[in-house]
Each structure stands twice: as C-alpha cells, then as structure tokens.
Symmetry: C2
Subunit: 371 residues, 2 copies
Amino acid sequence: MNTAASPPLTVEVPPEPPDLHGLPNGVDLLTRLEGISADRGLDSLAKRLADLAVFVGGDLAALEDQIARLPRYPHAVGRGATHLLDLGGKRLRPTCVVLAARLGAGFDARALDLAVAVELVHTATLLHDDVVDLSETRRGVATARATYGNAVSIFAGDWVLIEALRRVGRCGMPGLLDDLLATIEEMIFAESLQLENRGRINTDRDAYFRVIEGKTAALFRWAMRAGGMAGGLGEAECRALQSYGIHLGIAFQAIDDLLDFAGKTSFTGKELFADLREGKMTYPVILALERDPDLRPVLEQVVTAPGNHALPEQAAARVIASLRETRALDDCLELARERSARAVAELSCLPPGRAAWALATVAEAIVDRDL
Amino acid sequence: MNTAASPPLTVEVPPEPPDLHGLPNGVDLLTRLEGISADRGLDSLAKRLADLAVFVGGDLAALEDQIARLPRYPHAVGRGATHLLDLGGKRLRPTCVVLAARLGAGFDARALDLAVAVELVHTATLLHDDVVDLSETRRGVATARATYGNAVSIFAGDWVLIEALRRVGRCGMPGLLDDLLATIEEMIFAESLQLENRGRINTDRDAYFRVIEGKTAALFRWAMRAGGMAGGLGEAECRALQSYGIHLGIAFQAIDDLLDFAGKTSFTGKELFADLREGKMTYPVILALERDPDLRPVLEQVVTAPGNHALPEQAAARVIASLRETRALDDCLELARERSARAVAELSCLPPGRAAWALATVAEAIVDRDL
C-alpha cells in the first residue's frame, strides 16, 4: 500500500496526450497507469502494473475481440448501442471478472461471456444516464443521445441490457442471473435516490453512500462474484470477492468525485464540475460544505447556472479554494485509500498467487488514476 | 365468426361513460365488450363473452391481486412504475397467458407469474415509449413522464422490466426467458424502424407490417407460448398458439390504428390523430394515400403541426373524409377480421373445449372493441 506517500492530486503530464481516439481500452489503461506510477516514483506499483498487463493482456484482448464481434445492426438503435462500446473505456468491470476467474480455475469462454456482459450492463446504464443528465460528451466525444437523439439512446440502452442478460443466462450458473437482476434493481433505486436529491445542497453522507454503493459498487460486487463462480470458487471465497468489489467500487467512485474538480478533461473525457453542475453532491463537496458553511450560496450558484452557459468563473474558483483549504480533496483521497486497503484486506482469505497479487495491484492503482 | 355483419366503426354509447377511473381492468373489459356486442345485435358473441368473463374471472382477479401486491417503493421510480399499472388496462396479454394455460393443465401459480410478467413487459415499453413520444396522457390520465419527469419514466421502465424478467426466471421453464429476451429485442428493433420512418409520408406496407409484428404481435406470441408451456402443452401445440398470438396481435394493432381516427377518447384514453401527429404511418393512412395521392400535402400538414398546438381542423376533416371515401377504414377493419379468422383457424389443431372456445371469442371480440 502507498498510503504513506502523498502524491499530488493531478499529475504532470505532457499537454498533448499520446494519440488517444476516445479512451484507451483495458490494456492501454494499465500501461497508462504504469506511467503515472513511475512518474510519481511508485516504482514498485509501476512494476506490478506492468506484470498485470502481461497477466491479463490476452484475456482483455479476447474481451475486445468479443465486443468487436457484437452484432452490428445497421439501424439507428444498433448504431447507438455500439457507438459507446467502440470508444473503448477502462474495462475495469471486465478486468474484475477476469481476475476473479483467474483466482480460481481460470478465464474460460463462460467467464469471457460474463466479462462482456458486465461491460454491457455498464454501457446500458450510461446510455440511459446520458438521456437523464442530457449529457453532450462522454469518453471525449459526443454521446449517443447527442449524436442519434434521446429516443435512440433509450432503446439502445434497453437492447444492450437485453444482450447482457442473454449472455449471463446462457452461462447457466445457478443464481447468477437473479443476482444480476437484483444488482440492476439496486442501481436503478440508487439512481432514483440521486434524482430526488438532485440540486439539494446538503451534507447527507448517508444518502451519498447509499447512492454510490447502489450506483457504482453493486456492479463491481457482481463482477467479482461472477468471475469467482466462473472460476469454480466456493461460497466463502465468493463472499470475500464481493466485499472486495464493494470497497473497490467505493474507492473508484471517490476518485471519480475528485476528478470532477481535479481531472484533466483530455483524459477523463468529462468536463470539470460536471457532477456539481448536475446538482450531484459528491463526497468532497459534502466535506467542504460541512467545514465551510459559507460555501452554500456559491454551490447554489453553480448548480443553478444554466447547463449550456459557461461555468461562473468566480464561483468555480471559490469552490476549488474551499475544497483545498478545508482539505476536502485530501480526505476524499483518504476515503479512496481506506477503501482500497479494505479491498486488499479481503484478499487475505483467498488463494494466494498471481491473481490475488493482481487484484491488490488494481485496488492500489485505482487510487492513483487520472482517468 | 361475424365477418358477414358489418357493424359501424364507432358504436353509439351514452355520452358519459359509467364511472371509469382510468380504464377498466380485465374482467370489466369483458363486460364492456359484452355490452358492445349486445348493442350491435351480436347476441351470440355477447353470450360467449359473458361465459368468458365467468371462465377467466377468478384468474384475472388473481392477476389484479398480484399487481396490487407488487412492491410499493416510496421513491420516485417506485411511484412511476406503479402509476401506470394501477390505472388498470385491458390486461389482454395476461388473458392470453391464462387461456393458453387453461388449454392445458390449468392456470397455476407459475402461469400467474408469467401473466404478471407479460403485463410488466408491456408496461415497461409504455414507460419508455411515452418518453420517446413525449406523451402527455395515457389511459385517460397524465403519463408517468408528465407526472414525475422523463428520468423517472426511463428508470421506472427499467425497473419494471427487471421485475418481469425475475418472475420469468424463477418459473425455471427451459428456453422461456431466452425467448422473452429475443422477443424484447424484436420489440426494440421494431421501435428503431418506426423511429427511422417517423414523419416520412410513404406507403411502405412492408415496413408497416415489420413494425407492428415486432412492436405488438411478438409479445402476444410470447404470452401464448408462455401460457402453453405453463399448461404443459407440447411443442406443436405451442407453435399453433404462437401463430394465434401473432395474428391476434396484428388484428389488435389494426383496430388500434382505426381507433386513432374513429375511437372515443373517453374510452381509449388517447387523443384522436395521436399516431398521425407523431408521424407514424398506420395502415388506414397507408391505404388512403395509395388511393388518394393528393392526400400527401394534407398529411404533411398534420405531421408537421407543432405537438402542443390544436390539430389543424380543415386538414383533419380532409383526412377523415379521405379515409372514408377510399374505404381505407373498412379495409383496415377487414385486415383485422382476416387476422382474427386466421387466429381462430390456428385453434383447430388444439384440444377442443372451453379454453379453445374462449380464445376464439377473444379473437372475434377484439375486432369489435372500442377501447
């Protein structure tokens, strides 16, 4: 664990990133994280990421191949569905399936189906979320809804979900499809809670955690269970993997929250302040408001600014200053570190070896990502 | 069959319908159809509908009970999901499950689960369609999207679908869940085709039939198969039931097309000319345009009129006149009759008895409905 080191929240990188059409896929992500770790002097983590890239490289290439072979329907909904998938992405949820399977008997055709399925479920939620949030860009390019319209994005999300469920169904693993349906239900209900709280400037930590556990962590949990079951692991081991998934998901989301203020748009593919402008209370904002109540009217100004207008500059500067001065950004990073550590701790009762080592690497690297 | 009789397209009814809060549920629908048949002098059909109401009354009451017992989540998405279900509806798809099951071993708890599921799938599509079509009213009251917003209607549709799939999954009938997923895929692709053709004034019958087979008939087909399997019927019998479902669905849609021009809003819960204003080429419009090419600019005027403005009256009157003079409405009714007859013909290779008789009654009565 690198909790002792305190790297800056944004990493110095060349102003022009290397030839990124959309975001890199899974293996490229690992290479990129490796570079970041090396830049930060985390040589041991960089070395482990290089090892991870070799370990899962073939599996992630098989995943990309499967995604490329998805049915290509020429109609609007077909194009909308593959629009987002073809832009790549971090492929972090499929990586969870791969590593959990490799912790057991290995990554076979069935595990590959599940890895594709989890990426499809994630994609389906993005296609619907983009309509709900009226998002213009994702992964650095126009969203499906901006390109093909809201209707296409809704139906494309529906189709991608059906395609995912079909794959999980054909794996025939007892309880796994039911568990995915329950997971998707959790995701939907978390979205509902987020919708209801939208635009409410408050410091409700409980609501925050309920939202991110449902919206983000639940699918990581399912990915770990799916991989574990595909690898033939037992109930106790799958339970540990699921706990790993929940902690990893929360750590991942905490970093996402940070990147809303400290990310580089060219890497994340998202505008800064996007969450806040959509009226979403993220963890650093909750902390800053708790410690600096005068921030409230400024937050209100940002949240109520028309979506198609430039961010009110002075207000944005005031938010950033508060996030720094109250140490809200640092404590959000600390939350990610703590959950990352808890994820790693869950691995102690699992079979040791290269896969467990790789899962620990993922949990640590996720804290240092800038995309 | 009542193909010899030629009842008027709209039925004389009292100006104020009897205490309808939303639309009546399944059994009420049968009672209402019975009244229509009696009014039209179709005494034999009226008598058979009365018998049908007795035959399926208990099963449809069990369905309503299950729908009333669906989880009632207090959040926005939960309210949006049950908003539409609680308004009742024709429950025609569940009636298909009931009768197909009764053709076999009977309507048991598993068949009930499937009957609820098919109504949920139908509801999920309506929740998404209403967002796509920006619909303000359905079943005579404000849509979920008009009441709770587009976001809630999208997520509510997602949840209702998940709840449906969960029920079909727990029935554990081989291939049935996969068949439902394939059916939903067909429905989505038909929506895609309809979206692409939207606003295009053309006489493409082939596209029309592809849209309605996917959008409407496919789910009737699945309902018949689901009921047949739950009743323990064999493959050949299920195939005949599926063909019945397809023909019934097309007949149902043809009457829906008619009701866009000839329906009574207080019964259908839909505004007149709604399909045409949404740029959807329905069967009577296709026929009228084939026979009266001068209708084109008039149709264009209706289609391009702003959705929130009153229907251009002169254009509407011209469309109605053309639909009558070209006999487009009559031929659309004839399409419904022909498909109804083909549905009934499919029953010949099925076990005779009260259930087969009831299925024939449904196919005939569907042609005479006014809601």
